[in-house]
C-alpha cells in the first residue's frame, strides 16, 4: 500500500535533471506511504562510474571499504552504495565474502538503490536525490501492510542485475509462488509479498524473457491486487491486475515517459500540459525500451 512514481527519460537533455524531477514527484506521493521510502536511479555516473558495478547495501558496517581497493563508498542513511571496477557478479561475491552481515538491496552496472525508514521527503534528502542524474528512476513511499516497517521491507525490490520492482497493492497467492520459486532454487531475503513479484520477474528475465513477457507471465500466475512499475537495464514497464483498483496514471511526451499513483505527481514535469495522459488498463503490459 503506497505511492509510486517513475520517470523514463527519452531526451538526454533532461538527464541532468532526473533527480530534481523525481524529488518533486516523490513529494506528491509522500502522504500515501508515510512509513518509509526507496529510490532507484539509473545512469548516474558519479554514483556508478563507467566500467564499475555498484551494490547498494543495508547494514554495510565499518569495514565497507575492504570490499575492493578502488571501492567508491557513498553512505546515504540506512543505505550504503559501494562501486568498484568489477563485473556485477564479482562485486556481489566480494561483498558476500568481506561483509557477511550486509544485505544487498540492489546491484548493477547502471543502477543505485536507496532504502530507508522515515518521512519520504527527508529520505529524499538523505539519498541526495535532487542531485541525481541519469536516464531513468523511480521512487516508492510505503504504508506497510503485512510485513515490518524496516529498510529491508522498503521498496524497490531489486533482486536481479539492474532490475527494480515497486508494488502498490497486495498479492493473494504469493506464499505459494514463493514456495515454488524456492523449490527451484531461488533465495528470498524477506517475507514481503512484493519480493515474490520481483523474484518471479528476475527468474523469468534470467531465463530469457523480456520485461513485457515476464509481466504477462506474472499476470497469469499472480492473484490479488497490484499496480507494478518494473524497470530493467534498458526498460520501464507498468502493469495492473484484472480489477485494477490501485491507482496508476501514465503520461508520455517525446521527451519522457512517466508513471505515478496520482496525477499530482506528474504535474510538475516539463511539457505535462501537452503530454498524452491515460490510466493503464487491467492486465495490459505497458513497456518502453531505451
Amino acid at each position: 500500500m503506497c505511492g509510486i512514481v517513475g520517470l523514463h527519460l527519452r531526451d538526454p537533455g533532461l538527464h541532468p535533471r532526473l533527480g530534481a524531477l523525481l524529488t518533486d514527484m516523490l513529494a506528491q506521493v509522500a502522504d500515501r506511504g508515510p512509513d518509509s521510502a526507496g529510490v532507484a536511479v539509473y545512469g548516474d555516473r558519479r554514483r556508478c562510474p563507467s566500467g564499475y558495478a555498484a551494490v547498494s547495501l543495508l547494514g554495510a558496517g565499518p569495514d565497507v571499504g575492504s570490499v575492493h581497493p578502488s571501492a567508491v563508498v557513498t553512505p546515504a542513511g540506512d543505505t550504503t552504495v559501494v562501486a568498484a571496477p568489477l563485473p556485477t557478479t564479482a562485486l556481489i561475491d566480494a561483498v558476500r565474502r568481506t561483509l557477511p552481515g550486509a544485505r544487498i538491496v540492489g546491484a548493477g552496472t547502471d543502477l543505485t538503490v536507496y532504502k530507508g525508514v522515515g518521512a519520504p521527503r527527508a529520505l529524499a534528502t538523505t539519498y541526495d536525490l535532487a542531485a541525481a542524474q541519469g536516464w531513468q528512476g523511480l521512487a516508492h513511499t510505503r504504508m506497510a501492510t503485512e510485513s515490518a516497517v524496516t529498510p529491508e521491507g522498503c521498496h524497490p525490490f531489486s533482486v536481479g542485475p539492474d532490475q527494480c520492482l515497486v508494488h502498490n497493492g497486495s498479492f493473494a497467492n504469493h506464499a505459494t509462488i514463493r514456495r515454488e520459486l524456492r523449490a527451484s532454487g531461488v533465495v528470498f531475503d524477506s517475507e514481503n509479498d512484493s519480493e515474490v513479484g520481483a523474484r518471479f520477474v528476475a527468474h523469468h528475465l534470467e531465463r530469457g524473457a523480456d520485461l513485457e513477457k515476464a509481466l504477462r507471465l506474472l499476470c497469469e500466475r499472480f492473484d490479488g491486487f497490484y499496480t507494478l512499475l518494473v524497470t530493467s537495464a534498458d526498460g520501464f514497464a507498468v502493469v495492473r491486475d484484472a480489477i485494477a483498483c490501485k491507482p496508476a496514471i501514465i503520461a508520455e511526451t517525446d521527451a519522457w515517459v512517466a508513471m505515478a499513483s496520482e496525477f499530482r505527481a506528474l504535474e510538475t514535469l516539463p511539457g505535462i500540459s501537452s503530454a498524452r495522459i491515460y490510466e493503464p488498463e487491467p492486465e495490459v503490459v505497458y513497456a518502453w525500451t531505451r
Partner: protein, 228 residues
C-alpha cells in the same frame, strides 16, 4: 442567499488550506468562488450544500466536489478518483479527464466530463446523470442502480456489469458488456432523455447515433445459475 456578494471570491490553495476552503464553502459568504492552484489536492470543494458556483482552476485530486448537493462546481483541469462521488444535486463539470469511479454512487445532479473517464465511471450510480465527452474505461456503470450514463466516445470492457435500472447510452464502441447488461431499443423517450442530457452538457451529438444498454434483469433473484 440574496445577501451574498456576486463578485467571485478567490481562494488560492498555495496560501490557504483545503480545510479553510471547504469551511468557507460550507458556510458561504459569496455566491461564487474561484479556487487557484489546487495542484492535485484531495477533497477540494467536497461537501458543498449551497447553491454556489465554484471554479477550480487546475487539477484536482481525489473526491473533488464529493457529495455535492446543489453547487455548480467546475474543474478547469483533470480530476482524480471519485469526482462528484455521491452527488445529490447540482452540477459538476470537469474540463479535462477524470480518474476512476467518477460519479460513484451519485444520487442526483449532473456530472459532465469533457475529456475521458477511466475505470468504474458511474459505479453504483443511484440517480445521477453522467455525460462523458470522450471514453469511459472498463467496468463502468458496475452495479449501476438508477440515472443515466452517456458516453460520447467508446466504453471499455464489462460495461454495466450487474446493472440494475440505470440507463446507459454509448455513441462509440463497447469493449464488452458485463453480466446481465444487454443492448436495448432506443425509443423516443430515450432519445428525448438523451437530447436533454446532451443539451445540458453543451454537446451537439445526434441522439440517434447512440445505442442504449440496460439490465436484462436476470440477476434480480438469487439462483444457482447466477453465481460464478
Amino acid at each position: 442567499m440574496d445577501t451574498l456578494t456576486s463578485v467571485p471570491t478567490t481562494i488560492d490553495l498555495r496560501a490557504t488550506s483545503v480545510r479553510e476552503l471547504n469551511a468557507e464553502l460550507h458556510r458561504p459568504r459569496a455566491a461564487a468562488y474561484e479556487v487557484l492552484h489546487p495542484q492535485g489536492a484531495h477533497a477540494v470543494a467536497a461537501g458543498v450544500h449551497h447553491r454556489i458556483a465554484v471554479d477550480v482552476r487546475g487539477h484536482a485530486g481525489y473526491y473533488a466536489a464529493g457529495m455535492n448537493d446543489g453547487g455548480t462546481i467546475t474543474v478547469h483541469g483533470s480530476a482524480g478518483t471519485g469526482v462528484a462521488e455521491n452527488m445529490m444535486s447540482g452540477t459538476v463539470r470537469v474540463h479535462g479527464d477524470a480518474s476512476q469511479s467518477a460519479g460513484a454512487s451519485g444520487h442526483g445532479g449532473l456530472l459532465v466530463i469533457d475529456g475521458s473517464a477511466s475505470m468504474r465511471c458511474g459505479i453504483s450510480m443511484k440517480g445521477i446523470n453522467i455525460v462523458v465527452g470522450g471514453n469511459v474505461g472498463p467496468m463502468s456503470a458496475f452495479m449501476a442502480q438508477a440515472g443515466a450514463l452517456v458516453v460520447c466516445g467508446d466504453a471499455g470492457d464489462a460495461l454495466g456489469d450487474s446493472i440494475y435500472e440505470a440507463r446507459l447510452y454509448v455513441r462509440g464502441a463497447v469493449g464488452s458488456l458485463g453480466a446481465d447488461c444487454v443492448e436495448k431499443e432506443l425509443r423516443d423517450e430515450h432519445r428525448a432523455e438523451l437530447a436533454g442530457l446532451l443539451t445540458a452538457a453543451g454537446l451537439d451529438h445526434d441522439p440517434g447515433e447512440f445505442r442504449r444498454y440496460g439490465s436484462a434483469r436476470a440477476l434480480y433473484h438469487f439462483a444457482a445459475a447466477n453465481t460464478y
